[in-house]
Symmetry: C2
Subunit: 518 residues, 2 copies
């Protein structure tokens, strides 16, 4: 694969000067057009050591307007990063629409290093690459342009370059441990790089192989490639969407039989007042203790509450938080996104709220809005909500891999019961703020919501993050079911110390903090 | 002081119920009005141990709408927090306008703990309290409502309460070390608390002393107090501003003599091309090394570039960044604020960008916009830009206290030279994006800017963060002056290992991470 990057291409000083100013003007022009677009641009800079990745980035910083461009290097993990799913550090760096982020290594850094050091095998590498491909697909579907540069040198050139650098006071090589390791093990590095590039080189986010021997050729080629890539992307204003029929997840017959899921709930279940009081006391006491245990074990708990309007989410959440120390939990009610949130992938706002280890976060409505209200109201296109199932499953898998305990509740009531509650809200002063015209309009779309909920549960009730459907007509019954489920799940997870990554058996690269190559 | 919180006030169960629903309705109503206002509300919850601070916060979470309200507890510092000025963790939690943040302890937590444990003396405590008063004044001037609750118990009541809690499985007391320390040393704690409250009880951010013995009285009183405070603040839509004439910082005669500062710059200084090339090479090499030394010593560098339009900021920054490894620095060009940024204090956007330890951050324009463009264009009121000098000095002092190396450059050119550069920009394709009609308009306000710059330099050139005025008519001369200054300052700061908190001799409480009381 790398032969093409060892042919010795050069650009003369005169040619470089002649082309540079024109390129710079065009880059600035395209950057201005980009600013008014809905496209975030992510540039990954990777490659062999001593190829001059830092120099290239400095060059781009000089050529482009630094307004709307940010560079990120990933050093060792901070504890705030370590306490959250691995990809949190990348989500933090994703640029808003119209801007450019340049990432040193990005999500390729850890897999390259670990496979190269023999800390994981090809299977683990491939598992991580599959995640990377999903991640990049999700970004590009959201409108992002992902441009990945791989800088390469022949073995001889790299040796020479490393020798020069080690003599050069200005280099960072003195700072780095094992400075010659990459050169010595050139062959192994090429093997790892080739596997990574081959598997992650997709049409939506291709790799550009750049011969790095001649600096002028290298920099001009990067500039031109970036220019072309942004131009091409600007001419194709809507993100590529797979036709809806091509969805590989189409429910098989057996799954579509589950579509009557909600109808099968026994909404007549009730709990007597005395039993309720006793159970409430019992479970609240246990939850309080479990929450402190989770804190001392540094396990994060993520709770998702979804449900029909007036389904009893708020009441159930209050019974839960009443049991918790106010220092340990935070409720995130999902309201209208801010403009910074709108300028990012729809999952970005949920990633940004993830708490530090040991805390409890309660989402009052959640990322499932994408496949519920946004689907039903048409705010999301069919392609958008269809692919959201996979995106959500991947997000939740990452939460669980990181050791978080994830619980998802759907609170359901019958249409009659909902009507009674709406009327009650209109008649109780401190409840009036909870009922709006929109609630009445949503009610008319009940059948559409039912289909959406059924599909959501069928597609996102996973082994590692199952849905709990709560029969909500009787509030005491529903609240106790929620509390009992929280207790049972927390207890089971906290007693299972054997598996810090519960639920999944697939090994992946990327779990350790690397601090070598950047 | 605390006698008033030990008189044994109670509310009967019946009275509580009768008042609660009405209070709740009114709280929700005032919260809705608040949402459309420009007022952020900060509630501090502090007091003796076992007073039930967590219970109160849970109650507020139940009574108010959780949309637009967040609770923050401050546990031990994360390394990301430790690597930035102490108050970064508080700036992170400040609510946007229209919303409420409830802070456990907030900025009072560390001073209370450390003084109580004897880790600092009264003088250090007072120094920290002076900072707190400045900080709260800055927040309230910006429109914030700061409501501070102190919950108190008599010695006997606290003893009884702690005994109960230690028997109670649901409590967090099992988790905490030294659980009885506060009770045993009740007198000392009261002494510390009284000193803190007395010194930080200002009209703009008063303390409310709440008797915590009877939970119903406690919760109702908190609810009502908060309601009244928000209502009162809403009726007074503009932040209280001291009349401009009351500014205690008015320049004395000796300072106003400096107002000719810029005129005294010798703009005729030049540097020959060969000397420039040699000096450039020399200083770039040294800066590269110094930057890596700063990284290894985990010292952050903050560079501020201000200057007249076309003063050469961009060129000087590029000569600087060219010397730096792209992994170590970030340039923050100050563009229009996002809506999240607009919803906060004007310094919030600069706090949020502060890098982790050892990195270099370059502000291309900065917080000085407040006293330059915002002053001249009238975007900020006179009271706003006048108080900004103090706010900026305090911000910079905090940076330096944290070990950051802070450099500030003003790049100046003559009116004639500016005109030549404007014309050059209009005639060079890749420079055209840098010249706008606004630049021409600003030029007409040259005399006003000159007054603003003179006053800015006079008021904010501090021992710990001096301004460097750069004579910019000759670009080579200006660039070398910038690079040489960076070298000199970095070298001096990095060789001075004796003082991790350079520049200032005042000891303050708050430097260690506490993990006790929350």
């Amino acid at each position: 694969m790398f032969e093409a990057a060892k042919v010795g291409r050069t650009v003369s000083k005169a040619d470089f000067k002649a082309q540079r100013d024109e390129l710079r003007t065009q880059l600035l022009e395209v950057q201005r057009t980009l600013r008014d677009s809905h496209i975030p641009v992510i540039v990954i800079v990777a490659g062999v050591e001593a190829a001059g990745k830092g120099e290239v980035v400095n060059r781009l910083n000089e050529w482009l307007d630094t307004r709307g461009m940010q560079t990120f290097a990933f050093w060792d993990f901070s504890d705030e990063e370590r306490e959250r799913p691995r990809y949190w550090r990348f989500w933090r760096t994703l640029p808003p629409r119209g801007e450019i982020a340049i990432l040193f290594g990005g999500w390729y850094l850890a897999p390259i290093e670990q496979r190269f050091r023999g800390e994981c095998d090809d299977a683990a590498l491939d598992a991580e690459l599959a995640r990377i491909v999903d991640f990049e697909r999700s970004l590009t579907h959201d409108g992002a342009l992902v441009v990945k540069f791989w800088f390469h040198l022949s073995e001889q050139d790299q040796k020479t370059r490393l020798k020069e650098l080690s003599r050069d006071d200005r280099s960072r090589w003195k700072m780095l441990p094992k400075k010659s390791k990459f050169s010595e093990q050139y062959q192994l590095f090429e093997y790892v790089a080739e596997r990574i590039i081959r598997q992650s080189d997709r049409g939506i986010a291709p790799w550009y192989l750049i011969e790095a021997e001649d600096k002028r050729y290298r920099d001009l080629t990067v500039g031109k490639t970036l220019l072309q890539a942004i131009r091409a992307r600007l001419q194709q204003p809507l993100p590529t969407e797979p036709p809806a029929t091509a969805d590989p997840l189409d429910l098989p017959e057996s799954a579509s039989a589950q579509i009557t899921l909600l109808d099968q709930l026994d909404l007549s279940q009730t709990l007597a007042r005395d039993d309720y009081k006793e159970a409430l006391k019992h479970y609240q006491r246990e939850i309080n203790e479990l929450a402190w245990t989770a804190y001392s074990k540094q396990r994060t708990t993520v709770l998702v509450f979804e449900g029909v309007d007036a389904g009893g989410k708020g009441g159930a959440i209050r019974r839960l938080t009443h049991a918790l120390d106010a220092r340990l939990y935070r409720t995130i009610p999902i309201a209208a996104p801010t403009d910074e949130e709108k300028a990012h992938h729809y999952l970005w706002r949920f990633w940004r709220h993830l708490p530090r280890a040991g805390n409890i976060i309660i989402y009052d409505r959640s990322w499932y809005g994408r496949v519920l209200v946004e689907r039903v109201e048409g705010y999301a296109s069919e392609a958008e909500w269809r692919r959201a199932y996979t995106e959500i499953n991947d997000f939740e898998e990452q939460l669980v891999e990181n050791g978080s305990i994830l619980l998802k509740f759907w609170l359901h009531v019958s249409e009659d019961e909902q009507l009674r509650r709406f009327q009650d809200r209109e008649n109780t002063p401190y409840k009036q703020y909870k009922i709006t015209d929109e609630d009445w309009r949503n009610r008319e779309k009940w059948p559409l919501y039912k289909v959406a909920v059924n599909e959501m549960v069928a597609r996102t009730s996973t082994e590692y993050a199952p849905w709990t459907l709560v029969e909500g007509d009787d509030k005491p019954f529903a609240r106790i079911k929620v509390l009992k489920t929280v207790c049972d799940r927390l207890r089971a997870a906290l007693n299972d110390d054997s598996s810090p990554i519960p639920g999944r058996g697939i090994a992946r690269c990327g779990y350790q903090s690397g601090d070598g190559e950047h």
